[in-house]
């Protein structure tokens, strides 16, 4: 029984490795050839910290029940400003702070909790370490900031192609993910 368990775990790891290998070319598809996020670490933080809950997968944000999350595609913030915004949130808005101790032990925009008062931004559900903030800021700079309209390749590189979430971005020129999946099944 113990052996059986081991072998299924080994099989899982092997499967995961295959999945990573398979997803790599897909990830490259939507991005510039020299992808600066080869391990998808930045994208992983973007998902884990629920950035896409308001800014959406494409970073365009937009109005909604939670107010208007700013567009990361159209942002003019520098890397340093993005880093600080993630760490400290945006006072007076719904953008939460992601650094443990922000406005207490960590200086934010030169203010402490007292200074910021009623404008105190909400605390994020997940705190991020400096390295996490670093990789997600890189992800925003390299993969989102300055991009035009979201496209199919970008969407698939974010979600993979198991969901139909990207289908609306398909143009006639796009490879048909569904028929590709069908072909895969037929084999």
């Amino acid at each position: 029984m113990a052996n059986g368990k081991m072998s299924s775990i080994t099989a899982l790891i092997a499967l995961a490795a295959v999945a990573v290998a398979l997803s790599a070319p897909g990830a490259a598809l939507g991005q510039s050839a020299a992808s600066p996020d080869p391990t998808d670490a930045g994208k992983a933080v973007f998902k884990r910290a629920n950035c896409f809950g308001c800014h959406k997968w494409h970073g365009n944000g937009g109005g909604g029940y939670g107010g208007d999350a700013l567009s990361l595609r159209k942002t003019e913030l520098t890397r340093e400003q993005i880093t600080e915004t993630i760490a400290c949130g945006r006072p007076g808005t719904g953008m939460p702070f992601f650094t443990r101790g922000a406005y207490d032990t960590v200086n934010c925009y030169g203010m402490n909790r007292q200074d910021v008062g009623g404008q105190m931004p909400p605390e994020a559900n997940t705190f991020l370490r400096a390295t996490d903030i670093d990789v997600v800021a890189s992800y925003v700079i390299e993969h989102i900031k300055g991009r035009g309209e979201p496209n199919y390749a970008e969407c698939v590189s974010f979600f993979g192609d198991a969901s139909r979430v990207c289908d609306i971005y398909k143009t006639p020129a796009e490879p048909n993910a569904n028929s590709a999946a069908g072909a895969g099944k037929a084999q």
């Binding site: 029984m1 059986g4 368990k5 299924s8 629920n50 896409f52 809950g53 308001c54 959406k56 997968w57 365009n60 937009g62 109005g63 909604g64 029940y65 939670g66 107010g67 208007d68 719904g94 909400p122 559900n125 979600f159 969901s163 139909r164 979430v165 289908d167 609306i168």
Partner: protein, 595 residues
């Protein structure tokens, strides 16, 4: 190891099936006939007091159970009989987790519940315990659906027809599952998430049709109701809630930007049915964009309306609009409760009751669609001074104006971009269902006592994109929000009593002869005296109550059941108004109580 375990399950299941088939063959036909859900049984659902066959208990949507073994004197002894953990907590799209908003359906001791992603669970409740008979996982496309679900990963439950369990999925499907074995018999795509359409409501079964409502008014949809023939699996009719060119009401969209095409008008709360006139009465949601009513001058029919449709053809018979040219997201998607009460001169008033997001409760003559009475059921209303006693329209409503301002000082618009309104945009009363006690003629409303702040963002056609928010602004929560259970005397149209609660009512109501059951998002399930609303019993589930209680009996014993798992819109968009609720963890649990 895993493989062998599964194999063992399969073996046992097939052996069991053989035994059941052999032993039950002779009696199978009769047993089956008794368990087939027919239109006749649905019409007479209240004659099966131990069962709960409809989403709202009966076609009239009263959510009144005549079971009274649990009553005001002994309810203090109510205890947990059994519980069951369900699934569907996982996130998808813009959502970090799912929640439970469903009403359990019970037939002959078997319960059918759903989780937020639309998995259906059949639970055998015989013998004082709950045993999972099967689970049907529809494999909902989480990111496709969750990316355009404005207000949570929700599914409000199933319906029964023939030997099938009829359910919806967030990704737009109507699914028929074999009641006995949990196998999907057939499914059909009714809504299209590519257009921002999702489904969260339970189906309404009328004759041989399943009626489906749609959500998505925050994503620029054009709302509809669709009837699917359950025998042929074909669509019988689809009626849009926003009239097309040439149809009556189209001229209430007076802009030159074709705003009607993305005008909203969702239908995501299950409606009711009046068999006497073969009429479906269904609430219609807000116009889109929600908060920029200058984008869509005109009354914007049939948004914010109660809509009556011929059940056979889907043709619109009448409408009653509550908030014309709505600038507040005050939808009227709520259920209409169909009740008959004595009127003046010995006449019988045939009413449709609706408690609106705008803070007013309405009684409409359900044969004509004419206003009978209306009153505020919340403590604070600022957007209007009140309703015109003849028409029921807000006093400030001016039919000659294309853009309504109501109480202009508090109304959000392009020149008054930040405005505080009461009730806030969640209501009033949201989807959590009311209940009606026909003996006491009291109607119980689950209330969100609220104000919130609206910030308007001017809409332009270029911003209208598939699967993107189309709201013309958004709310924020600078004010604490509480709640109440408010009882209305339907014979007088006056508030009879109000029990204030620390948190908004996000679950809804069950009425029994002398009790009212409800819950709080902070975890409590409670029983109140039906007349005074005095609290008689309370139990803390340890999760957030976001679903309505119901009652059933099995083996001659009465039970109260409720799903517990805070999800929905509240803990993403409105939690700042109830900071204490931030500590409530996502969960997915069925509680069943008995004496």
């Amino acid at each position: 190891m895993t493989r062998f375990t599964n194999h063992g399950h399969l073996m046992r299941a097939s052996v069991l099936a053989t035994v059941v088939a052999a032993a039950g063959f002779a009696g199978a036909l009769t047993a089956r006939a008794a368990d087939e859900v027919t239109h006749d049984r649905l019409l007479n659902a209240d004659k099966e007091p131990g069962n709960w066959l409809h989403h709202h208990k009966n076609f009239a949507a009263t959510r009144f159970s005549s079971l009274k073994d649990i009553n005001r004197d002994n309810v203090k002894n109510l205890k947990v009989a059994w519980t069951m953990h369900l699934g569907g907590v996982e996130g998808g799209g813009i959502w970090t987790h799912g929640g439970l908003e469903g009403t359990p359906i019970v037939e002959n001791g078997f319960m059918y519940v759903t989780d937020g992603w639309g998995s259906v669970y059949k639970i055998d409740t015989h013998g004082g315990q709950g045993v999972l008979a099967w689970k049907m996982d529809p494999k909902t496309d989480h990111d496709w659906a969750g990316g355009v679900a404005c207000c949570g990963v929700d599914n409000r439950g199933v319906a029964l027809w023939g030997n099938l369990v009829i359910s919806h999925t967030l990704d737009g499907r109507l699914i028929a599952t074999n009641k006995e074995n949990g196998q999907v018999a057939w499914q059909r795509q009714v809504a299209n998430p590519d257009k921002g359409e999702v489904i969260t409501g339970a189906p309404l079964i009328v004759k041989n049709m399943a009626i489906t409502g749609v959500a998505g008014a925050e994503y620029g949809i054009r709302g509809w109701l669709a009837a699917t023939d359950l025998s042929t699996q074909k669509e019988v009719w689809r009626t849009f809630t926003i009239p097309g060119k040439g149809e009556p009401g189209h001229d209430t969209w007076k802009d030159d930007k074709n705003s009607a095409a993305s005008g909203g008008g969702s239908t995501w709360v299950t409606g009711s049915y009046d068999p006497a006139t073969d009429t479906i009465i269904w609430g219609v949601g807000n116009p889109g964009p929600d908060w920029d009513n200058q984008y869509r001058p005109g009354d914007n029919l049939y948004t914010d309306s109660s809509l009556a449709l011929d059940a056979t053809t889907g043709k619109i018979k009448w409408h009653y609009q509550h908030t014309p040219n709505d600038p507040y997201d005050y939808d009227s998607v709520a259920e209409n409760v169909l009740v008959d009460v004595p009127g003046p001169g010995g006449a019988t008033l045939k009413l449709a009751l609706e408690a609106d997001r705008n803070g007013f409760a309405y009684a409409i003559d359900r044969t004509t669609g004419k206003f009978v009475w209306g009153l505020p059921f919340v403590k604070k209303v600022t957007w209007t001074k009140g309703l015109d006693q003849e028409s029921g329209k807000p006093i400030e409503y001016d039919p000659n104006k294309q853009v309504q301002r109501y109480n202009a000082a508090v109304t959000p618009h392009r020149e008054n971009k930040v405005a505080d309104i009461c009730p806030g945009n969640m209501g009033g009363k949201n989807w959590p269902p009311t209940a009606y006690n026909p003996d006491l003629k009291l109607w119980y409303i689950p209330v969100i006592e609220s104000c919130n702040r609206i910030t308007v963002e001017e809409s332009v056609p270029e911003k209208l994109k598939a699967r993107e928010f189309w709201t013309g602004g958004g709310p924020s929560q600078p004010f604490k929000i509480t709640g109440s259970v408010t009882a209305i005397d339907v014979t007088t149209g006056k508030v009879a009593s109000k029990l204030e609660t620390p948190f908004p009512n996000l679950g809804g109501i069950l009425a029994t002869p002398d009790l009212v059951f409800s819950g709080q998002p902070s975890g409590e399930v409670m029983a109140l005296d039906a007349k005074t609303l005095e609290k008689r019993w309370e139990f803390n589930t340890g999760g957030g109550v976001n679903a309505p209680p119901m009652s059933f009996s099995v083996d001659g014993k009465q039970y109260i059941a409720i799903l517990v798992g805070l999800g929905g819109a509240w803990d993403k968009w409105f939690i700042d108004a109830t900071p204490e609720l931030k500590r409530i963890q996502p969960g997915s649990m069925l509680y069943v109580f008995a004496l």
